[in-house]
């Protein structure tokens, strides 16, 4: 802990980007994720409901369970889980590092030096386009990290910023 007296102190004094300026995901991601989640639950609830309605000779309790369980799971997912997903996320993009944290039980904070960024990718599916959101993927020589949903213009701006900053060092 007492090495490099000249450079060490200054470096430690410099906070990580996430220590000073954390950005949350835009509020729009909650309705977006809710809709996406509802769409993915649709087949999962329709099939058992259809089965419960058509298969003869089922005890009424079982019939009720088959209908209720997927609906309840979907309801919990849409009402409780999706807003939590936004709450457990933050990101911060500084001049030297990209800093992001996510996770509910296991909370993971990831720091990527900007000079290590190889390329940045902005992805937008049809549903995300309706909400004007985009997914930002940051690729390094050791895999990629992603910010799941950003305001499209904000994502564009960050992409440009990272590209500018990353251009400084052109090696791996």
């Amino acid at each position: 802990m007492d090495d490099e007296p000249s450079s060490k102190t200054s470096i430690v004094d410099r906070p990580l980007p996430g220590d000073v300026a954390r950005s949350e995901l835009p509020e729009r991601v909650v309705p977006y994720w809710r809709l996406a989640s509802a769409l993915s639950w649709l087949p999962l609830s329709v099939i058992p409901i259809g089965a419960a309605a058509t298969v003869p000779d089922l005890p009424i309790v079982l019939r009720a369970l088959i209908v209720a369980v997927p609906l309840l799971a979907a309801l919990i997912d849409i009402v409780v889980v999706q807003p939590r997903r936004r709450a457990i996320w933050w990101y911060a993009i500084g001049d030297e590092q990209i800093d992001l944290q996510h996770g509910w039980m296991i909370v993971t904070r990831t720091v990527v030096p900007i000079t290590r960024v190889q390329h940045v990718e902005l992805q937008q599916g049809p549903l995300a386009r309706r909400f004007d959101l985009a997914k930002l993927e940051i690729h390094t020589a050791a895999g990629s990290v992603a910010i799941p949903a950003l305001d499209r213009t904000e994502g564009e701006r960050i992409r440009q910023r990272i590209a500018d900053l990353a251009r400084v060092a052109d090696d791996l």
Partner: protein, 519 residues
């Protein structure tokens, strides 16, 4: 069918015609079992006809493949075109090539050619293309064309590494036609790459060459041998102790004594055979292992039957990993692996820098190869005392079911043995806690941990690709956390249960550019 192909521009070339034979034989080898089945089931005449037909087909396919595969180096870009009906073209800029490896299997040796493997940064399935047969001269030309723009200024081995990824072919002695006198088998112009130290380029020096003793030790102490040996020893002792008395009596009603003995003998023989195979495999894999360096590159050659020469630009080695399996650790031995960013297809063998070395010799070797990495000059920081007991949790959770199973076992004396899995769990956990440690000094982040083998990652801290700090609910309660760093896609270095405040401070120092290197 091939006549309507467009006339190849003068720069484009085909592979060496031997590619037809090599590919054809590869196809044939793949179909060998099928052919055998056909021969046995259909009789010699019908089977022979079918086999001959298949062979012809394989040869024809290989021939078409050769006819339609063309490559060229145009504007510092390697272009490869393949495909008869659907054409496929790939372009790889020289600056994106992270390594140009060559290998020679038995087939390549017979025809006096080499296979060239082009590694590109980025990983994934498309990351490597292989030219399976080119002449030595052509491989040498490719190397020149794809590598000649490399800046020669980087004589300290740490220079700009964007363009110098491509190295010499590295078959010592293939540089000049004068040195080929002694090895007739490998081709008219080039010597056996297994040649000795006197076949070095003028600016090249040997950093490591495996000795016969080290090769044998490496083979004998390789983990698979240890596992097979331990298993057969366990079976043997179980058979000699337990079986004649109690267990055998209980089993006697259902299992014939002779059968049981036969099964045990077979199991032991099988395991011994596996050990022998693994020893031979290790010897073939690492035989003739040699590392040489010039001012910019390391060249690693290995293998007895199929020999492979890999080139690693010194500037791309951002870390090394020292791996000590328990057995090797007891003997003071270790293996060294390299961590190279953007080097695709990193399996354990291609990562190996040194298959076996005395632990005491490592600092000197590393100072020679990667001076940018500082050997820890003082003991590593251990994990906090309050974290030590947490290392016991996971091994105990894993071994508990075994202990429980033994406790409820119907055979009385097995219940006493139930303590053994728990003991192993405690032993593994405390060894893991003792191995865990870290140090950030001289621009090098050292991180040591153990699963079974003890693994020490020495990383240039300014070269880390990513650092991760994660906490579980249990860790949060004790203000502890796990830190993981990555230098390459393949693996990471991780240390569990460090003080969370300490990790946060570490995160601020890792990956920052102006770390002053050790003087």
């Amino acid at each position: 069918m091939t006549s309507d192909l467009p006339e190849a521009p003068p720069l484009e070339r085909r592979l060496h015609p031997a590619a037809t034979a090599i590919d054809g034989l590869r196809h044939a080898r793949g179909a060998a079992t099928g052919a055998l089945v056909v021969l046995v089931s259909q009789g010699l005449v019908v089977g022979g006809i079918i086999t001959a037909g298949l062979l012809t087909l394989a040869t024809f396919a290989a021939f078409l493949n050769w006819r339609t595969t063309r490559y060229a180096v145009i504007d510092d870009t390697l272009r490869l075109r393949t495909g008869l009906f659907s054409r496929h073209e790939r372009n790889i800029p020289a600056s994106r090539i992270s390594a140009l490896d060559t290998s020679r299997g038995i087939l390549q040796r017979i025809f006096g050619v080499v296979a060239v493997h082009v590694q590109t940064a980025g990983g994934g399935k498309e990351a490597e293309i292989s030219l399976r047969a080119v002449s030595f001269a052509e491989a040498e030309r490719l190397r020149r064309e794809l590598g000649h723009r490399a800046p020669r200024s980087a004589s300290d081995g740490r220079g700009p590494d964007a363009a110098d990824g491509v190295g010499d072919l590295g078959f010592p002695g293939d540089a000049g036609p004068t040195s080929d006198a002694s090895f007739a088998a490998t081709g008219p112009r080039f010597t056996n790459p297994a040649g000795d130290a006197d076949h070095l380029a003028p600016d090249e020096s040997v950093v490591y060459a495996i000795t016969p003793r080290e090769l044998v030790l490496a083979a004998l102490t390789s983990p698979s041998v240890a596992v097979a040996g331990a298993a057969s020893a366990a079976i043997f002792s179980l058979a000699s102790d337990a079986l004649p008395s109690r267990l055998q009596r209980q089993l006697a009603t259902s299992v014939d004594e002779l059968t049981l003995t036969a099964v045990i003998v077979l199991a032991i023989v099988g395991l011994l055979l596996a050990a022998v195979v693994s020893v031979i495999g290790t010897i073939l894999m690492f035989g003739g292992f040699r590392v040489t360096r010039d001012d910019r590159r390391l060249r690693v050659r290995r293998g007895l039957l199929t020999e492979r020469v890999g080139t690693i630009p010194l500037g791309r080695i951002h870390g090394v990993r020292i791996v000590e399996s328990p057995l090797r650790q007891l003997l003071g031995l270790a293996a060294i692996e390299v961590e190279v960013a953007g080097y695709a297809g990193q399996d354990e063998v291609t990562r190996t820098l040194v298959p076996l070395i005395n632990r005491d010799a490592i600092p000197a070797l590393l100072a020679d190869i990667v001076p940018a990495i500082a050997w820890p000059d003082r003991p590593l920081e251990p994990v906090p005392v309050r974290a030590r007991r947490r290392y016991l949790t996971l091994p105990l959770v894993v071994t508990l079911p075994f202990a429980t199973a033994l406790l409820v076992a119907p055979i009385g004396w097995l219940r006493i043995v139930a303590i053994v899995p728990l003991g192993i769990g405690v032993l593994v956990g405390s060894l893991q806690a003792r191995a865990a440690g870290w140090l950030l000094a001289g621009g090098t982040f050292t991180i040591r941990s153990r699963r079974f083998a003890r693994s020490t990652l020495l990383a240039q801290s300014s070269r880390l690709q990513r650092a991760e700090f994660s906490t579980s609910p249990f860790q949060r309660r004790a203000n502890l956390g796990t830190i993981a760093v990555r230098l390459s896609n393949a693996r990471r270095g991780q240390i569990r249960h460090l003080d969370a405040t300490e990790i946060h401070e570490l995160l601020q120092r890792l990956g920052r550019t102006p770390e002053t290197p050790a003087s």
